[in-house]
């Protein structure tokens, strides 16, 4: 890392994952080598079964590769024990899921606090930091609302606040707009873009081209292989699109197609 202007945050070499299904061995990921620099906004694309979800599980330290190496922030994490992986997830990775995964009947602020509970942060400090993050995603007013009292977009913003609260190295978003309407999707992408502009590394896994066009780099997967690594010189600005009123209509037509 030392001396480099943009340090490599993610470095994988020959990352492989095989599953045993009956007598067949399925290679979900077949020797993937990628580098992601700090501050990048990357979209991982591919049809279902392409291995993009498996890659996301590997990069998110939710699963261990069958072979290959994964270095996250200068630390080799590909062969850590499960409790060590939990600690890595806790401090280095912020997850955003398609279905938000907020705890039921739990206030937004407490959902945001959850990672800090496992980080062993004292209750008073947890509350301060959680409220700070909720303010950052524009939900300071809704801190005491339960998830059932929030709209889908609001729930996803709570989830983003939860992902940010431990000040992670990267945000891993798995189909973050998959359960949202087009306008709300745009709001979420705008939020992720703003976070990225603030220096946060963002990695979005999606099968929608609509989502990928906001990223500056697009990785395409097919059958467990990386087939295209494409730099998007002019990503769309979600915030600008939100300001232009007519745009959401087009987006919704495309999204439903």
């Amino acid at each position: 890392m030392a001396g480099q202007m943009i340090p490599q945050l993610i470095r994988t070499r020959g990352l492989t994952k095989t599953y045993q299904v009956g007598d067949n061995e399925i290679r979900a990921l077949a020797g993937v080598s990628i580098d992601v620099a700090q501050g990048e906004f990357t979209a991982v694309m591919g049809p279902s079964g392409s291995g993009k979800s498996t890659l996301m599980n590997m990069l998110g330290c939710l699963d261990r590769p069958s072979a290959g190496e994964y270095v996250l922030g200068g630390r080799r994490v590909s062969d850590l024990a499960s409790d060590e992986l939990a600690a890595v997830r806790n401090s280095n990775i912020g997850f955003v899921f398609q279905t938000f995964n907020l705890l039921a009947r739990t206030a937004a602020v407490e959902n945001v606090e959850l990672p800090l509970v496992y980080a062993g942060v004292p209750a008073a400090e947890r509350r301060v930091r959680a409220l700070e993050m909720l303010a950052k995603v524009g939900l300071a007013e809704r801190a005491d609302h339960h998830s059932a009292q929030l709209s889908g977009g609001q729930q996803q913003r709570v989830a983003i606040a939860r992902a940010l609260v431990t000040r992670p190295l990267l945000i891993l978003a798995d189909e973050p707009t998959g359960a949202l309407d087009s306008r709300t999707s745009l709001e979420i992408m705008a939020l992720l873009q703003e976070l990225n502009q603030g220096g946060m590394t963002v990695l979005v896994v999606t099968h929608e081209a609509d989502v990928a066009r906001f990223a500056r780099r697009v990785l395409r997967f097919r059958d467990g292989h990386l087939v295209e690594d494409h730099a998007n010189e002019k990503p769309d600005d979600a915030r600008a699109m939100l300001r232009a009123e007519a745009v959401p209509v087009t987006i919704s037509a495309e999204a439903s197609a």
Binding site: N57, G60, L62, D63, S82, D83, A86, A87, R89, N90, S91, F95, F97, N101, L103, A104, R105, T106, L114, P115, V117, Y118, A119, A123, R162, T166
Partner: protein, 408 residues
């Protein structure tokens, strides 16, 4: 820890009805244990009290039996022991006190009332040996024995049946036509272990009983008695005392080695120990039966916790994704199970105590509520929570985060 408790309370509050139904098993189990222990301990206390009223440091010597034309009579039919034996026992074994007694029955008459009761001709030591208290008046003394005076003490039942509300002291009653002055009233002793009334009797000097009242019955030897009670000093070994008394009597009766005793010697401590043991077994049995329901309650907790783990698979996956370690998840579900069982346990204690008190009030049973039984119940509830909560909690903690997050 406090945080875990709050998480557990919230999880339980989400499904109030289900939590309550789950607790029901523990509530009933703990309540049953508390009630059964209270009732069992009550029965045991009753037995112990009866034994105390009898006196457990007592030896009872009964006269031997006679055989008349091949028909063997019971103990006391042949009066082989005497007042002299009774006098010899404390003389030879200083740790003892002996009280001989002659027994008979007679009809008592006072005014226009009459009552049939048991008459004991005894020495002044008798009430000390039997540990009987006087409610009023005095015990007769050596002078009364020497002079064979016509005085007596009456038991509570006799006092009630014969005198009604009147004060028995100083009254003259007729026992087989002989007038006796009542000089004392005995304190109530209640029922014996066998259920006989220990207050339905009168005491009189042994000399008077022999000469005036029981003279007509079979009393071949002038000094012989039916029973001798021997009180052994506190702390002196009952077994030793028993053997000393036995060998003393055998020697006095000139029995050859190998010859049977011509008397019967009973150690009441042994009787008491047997009684106590059987009541303790009963109490233990009751508690054991009740604890079966605790185990059933524990299985109910395990059941619901397993359902809960399955239902909350995604939540577990999320917690793991944001950094929960194996022990965090294990702890969370374990605390939940223990909270469930402890709350159930506390409710069970309350209900158990209320039921036990209710039984005491309405059924009139003797109960003993001890802090130990409450502690035991809490410890039991806690153990059940840990024991039956562990398997579901471990199942949760061992989930694969990827699969848990994908779980529908």
């Amino acid at each position: 820890m406090l945080g875990l408790l709050r998480v557990a309370m919230r999880a339980l509050a989400v499904n109030k009805l289900r939590s309550l139904l789950t607790m029901l098993g523990i509530i009933i189990g703990v309540a049953a244990v508390i009630v059964m222990i209270a009732v069992g301990a009550g029965a045991q206390a009753r037995v112990e009290e009866q034994i105390r009223s009898l006196g457990s440091n007592l030896l009872l010597i009964l006269s031997g039996s006679t055989t008349a034309g091949g028909v063997r009579m019971g103990f006391g039919s042949n009066l082989t022991i005497s007042e002299d034996d009774a006098a010899a026992i404390p003389r030879e074994i200083p740790e003892t006190m002996a009280a001989p007694a002659l027994r008979g029955t007679a009809q008592l008459i006072w005014g226009n009332q009459n009552w049939s009761t048991v008459i004991f001709g005894v020495t002044p030591e008798y009430i000390d040996v039997r540990q009987w208290e006087l409610a009023a008046g005095r015990m007769f003394d050596a002078t009364d024995i020497a002079g064979a005076t016509k005085v007596c003490l009456v038991g509570q039942t006799v006092a009630r049946q014969l005198f009604g509300g009147a004060d028995p002291l100083g009254q003259v009653i007729r026992v087989r036509r002989v007038p006796f002055t009542v000089i004392g009233v005995l304190e109530s002793k209640g029922q014996s272990m066998m259920g006989s009334d220990q207050d339905d009797l009168i005491l009189m000097p042994i000399s008077t009983a022999r000469k005036r009242v029981l003279g007509a019955s079979n009393l071949a030897k002038q000094r012989s008695v039916g029973t001798i009670w021997v009180k052994v000093a506190e702390g002196y070994d009952m077994k030793t005392a028993e053997e000393q008394v036995r060998s003393l009597l055998r020697q006095r009766h000139r029995l050859q080695p190998g010859q049977d005793d011509d008397f019967s010697l009973r150690n009441l401590e042994e009787v008491a120990a047997t009684q106590e043991a059987s009541s303790r077994v009963l109490a233990l049995l009751l508690a054991a039966v009740a604890s079966v329901s605790l185990v059933v309650g524990g299985i109910g907790i395990m059941n619901i916790m397993l359902v809960s783990v399955t239902e909350r698979t995604r939540e577990i996956g999320l917690r793991m994704a944001v950094g929960a370690r194996t022990r965090d998840i294990l702890g969370q579900f374990l605390v939940e199970a223990v909270t469930l069982s402890l709350i159930g346990g506390l409710a069970g204690i309350a209900i158990g105590i209320a039921t036990a008190v209710g039984i005491a009030q309405f059924a009139g049973w003797r109960i003993v509520l001890s802090p130990e039984s409450v502690l035991l119940a809490v410890a039991f509830a806690f153990t059940i929570g840990v024991f039956f909560g562990f398997y579901p909690a471990r199942k949760a903690a061992r989930l694969n985060p990827v699969e848990a997050l994908r779980f529908e």
